[in-house]
Amino acid sequence: MVRRSGIRVAAALLAVLAGTGAWADGALPTVHSLNLCTDQLAMLIAAPGQIRSISELAIDPSLSALAGQARTYPANRGLAEEVVADQPDLVVTGAWSARNATDLLRSLGYRVETFRPDLTLDGIRGDILRMGDLLHRRDTARELVAGFDAELARAPDAGCPAAFHPRLLVFGPNGVTEGAGTLPDTVIKAAGFVNLGAEPGTGGMAFISLEQVIAMRPDVILLPADDPAAPALAQKLFSHPALKASGARIVRGAVDAALWTCGGPFTARAVTGLKRLKASLPGCRGPGS
């Protein structure tokens, strides 16, 4: 306990010092990330040499918006042993992921900072700034938030009537949709759509049957961008004739799933993508696209 609180005091001191800009680049804390979402925030904010390792999920392009950049860092499997071998100044991870590793590392005296999944746009801003503070890169974090807000302010759908809120349904593999309160729900609403997945009041990830999809009369059905290289029944459902017969606009790939799997500055691009889609719908033909 003594050691842990000692580390906390030291960390608070470090944060104060960083705020005053008294730290040279060479003394920036090194970081080891165990979670896909903290991986991406760290990669965007950290200075060269600060990142010791990121999780292996970060190189998967279907999950990570920064898969290409992620390949340049050593990957970890989220094990406490890897952290101990690495001796970073700071460990960042998700609040719900690898709890055993988190507890073990804390008991070993490591500073572990956990991030909850981002569910709102404000949450994303807060997490960018928090990561900036942790890494002593507050200015970079502020620039990222400014860029995020600038992207959100873009309005390719400016030509649409203000009251135009088309009904959109995300239909993922095996009938998974995005329920109320999820990050995709936030993005869909921010782009001016009604998220039909939030209607049944399920919350979180929800399952819907094909029949419910048709009965909800969506204006837009959003399918995943691309089929993986290998076939699975999960993708076969997307070519079901009932989807085509529903009269809804079937869209593939308007949003890269990696943009809203984790919250980050890139999530604003998902909002812009959906706004662009909205501008292309009948009922919204005008300038601004």
């Binding site: 929800a206 290998a230 029944l233 017969a245």
Partner: protein, 327 residues
């Protein structure tokens, strides 16, 4: 058609209509049926024609195949525990379908997945007749079937785990405990002709199955060509069971339960059981498939789970009473 078969046919027809009436969305029954025929309300017509009709058709066809296949196998092998699911035929068909679908061979379209399932099913029937033989005890057959089911189940799981598609491994449950959810009319159009061909072959075996109850020698003297009958039976079971597995996964126990329930009401001749058992199987599967839709909302229970829940205790009871007879 015997009275029993007519009764079962009426029951299956009733449940077919009930299957069309049940779904996640609230469409008034008569309005839905009207939309199915006339296409009046486009939304209801889409739901009825593209989602519920294929499901009901496949329930009818697959149930009929399982009931008929069970009755024919039990008659031919003179073995009360014979059933496509239990003896590994369905499992082998699933493995065949998986091998074709997940490797991408199905991109060649049409009947390729069906052919994989048929090959698997036919291989399993040949293997069982070769290994367990027609004169073996029920236990030998069941043990051979258990071995085959475990092996094909393990290979199916292995194939799906090796697939680079992240969703493939979740689909193990579908292939081992099948489902009729969200099939398309195209699936039914692929499966039903193959099943019908299998049914024709099995019905053509009817009189030979009757003769075989008197023993092989008597049957031969009555003009039964044993190798020919065996070939027709293998092809018939493979076609009817395999075609169903290719679109709906493995649905177990229907072929075991139904012939046993109906046999006491027949004159004990296999031929008199075939048609009644087919319709009975259709009725049972349609009823189970209606039940899974009514019991669970959201993430629907696989119908194979329900038939196993009904069938496994029945199977246990059958094994117990069989042991008493043999002891």
């Amino acid at each position: 058609m015997t009275r029993l078969a007519a009764l079962m046919a009426a029951l299956a027809a009733l449940l077919f209509l009930a299957s069309l009436a049940v779904g996640a969305s609230d469409i008034p029954v008569l309005h839905g049926l009207a939309a199915l025929v006339t296409g009046s309300d486009p939304l209801a017509a889409t739901i009825m024609r593209d989602i519920r009709l294929p499901r009901a058709l496949l329930g009818l066809g697959i149930g009929f195949s399982l009931g008929l296949g069970g009755a024919a196998l039990q008659g031919f092998l003179r073995n009360p525990l014979a059933e496509p699911g239990l003896v590994g035929v369905s499992g082998a068909a699933a493995l065949g379908a998986v091998a074709v679908f997940y490797t991408g061979l199905s991109a060649f379209g049409g009947f390729t997945v069906q052919l994989g399932a048929l090959a698997g099913a036919a291989g399993a029937v040949v293997f069982l007749i070769g290994l367990a033989g027609r004169r073996s005890s029920p236990m030998t057959l069941v043990l051979a079937g258990v071995a085959l089911t475990s092996l094909t189940g393990a290979l199916t799981a292995l194939a799906l785990n090796l697939s680079p598609n992240p969703f493939a491994s979740y689909e193990i449950i579908f292939w081992l405990l099948g489902s009729l959810k969200d099939r398309a009319l195209g699936d039914a159009a692929l499966a039903l002709p193959l099943m019908a061909a299998g049914w024709a072959l099995l019905f053509a075996c009817a009189s030979a199955l009757d003769a075989l109850t008197l023993g092989d020698d008597t049957a031969r003297s009555l003009g039964v060509n044993l190798p020919r009958t065996a070939t027709m039976l293998v092809a018939g079971v493979a076609l009817s069971a395999g075609a169903g597995v290719a679109v709906a996964g493995t649905i177990g126990f229907v072929g075991l339960v139904v012939p046993h329930l109906l046999r006491p009401f027949t004159d004990e001749r296999p031929s008199s059981l075939l048609l009644a058992s087919g319709f009975g199987g259709a009725a049972l599967l349609l009823a189970a498939d209606i039940a899974v839709r009514l019991l669970t909302t959201g993430r629907e229970l696989n119908v194979g789970v329900l038939t196993a829940l009904i069938g496994a205790p029945f199977f246990l009871w059958l094994v117990m009473s069989n042991r008493r007879v043999m002891a």
